[in-house]
């Protein structure tokens, strides 16, 4: 991968889960592909994926990398704050007890 030695590529088919479709839709909206105001570029998505530590990159699935990168970009751009994000995550965790 990236020109580095790696194992064999094993392609597998799978259906997208609901949350994965939502992450994709979120990116389409934020990058201005459909309708709304453009709040980020695909280049920022890539930059913040590249900034993941190697072990996190390996551990995460494709859309987990996307949602992590989108979140990082929204914090960098001041669309959301770390404080808001942390509070909301606490609320969601409580709701799902």
């Amino acid at each position: 991968m990236g020109g580095q030695p790696a194992g064999k590529v094993e392609p597998t088919e799978h259906d997208y889960e609901e949350w994965e479709r939502r992450v994709d839709a979120l990116m389409m909206l934020l990058s201005g592909v459909r309708g709304a105001r453009k709040l980020m570029t695909v280049d920022e998505l890539r930059k913040n994926i590249e900034a993941l530590p190697p072990d996190a990159y390996e551990r995460m699935s494709y859309y987990e990398r996307w949602v992590t990168s989108i979140t990082q970009t929204m914090i960098q751009r001041g669309v959301i704050t770390t404080e808001e994000l942390g509070r909301r995550m606490e609320q969601v965790r409580k709701r799902h007890g």
């Binding site: 990236g2 280049d43 590249e50």
Partner: protein
């Protein structure tokens, strides 16, 4: 928009530079030589777009053709096997 400096068939060298930031030129192709296959158009500079800037002026993007055997040490496939990579003009000389 930056003017296109290369034409189909021109031999080009990819800069062997390794700055920080978001760069679309793959590591493995930096420092190698290839031939312009086509001009793909001009696009916002991703190195700038990744940093919340405009990406202007737009940069010409080329499809550049390399020989696999030139890129990978001890390549064991057909000696004529090709590799095509899309590279922005400011990475070519």
């Amino acid at each position: 928009m930056v003017e296109a400096r290369f034409r189909r068939g021109d031999r080009v060298h990819v800069r062997a530079a390794y700055p920080l930031g978001h760069i679309r030129t793959p590591y493995y192709i930096r420092g190698h030589s290839g031939v312009i296959e086509r001009l793909c158009g001009s696009f916002g500079n991703p190195e700038e777009l990744a940093q919340q800037r405009s990406g202007e002026p737009k940069q010409p993007l080329y499809r550049v053709r390399f020989l696999q055997k030139d890129v990978w040490p001890a390549y064991r496939g057909n000696p004529g096997d090709l590799l095509e990579v899309e590279i922005f003009q400011h990475w070519l000389e």
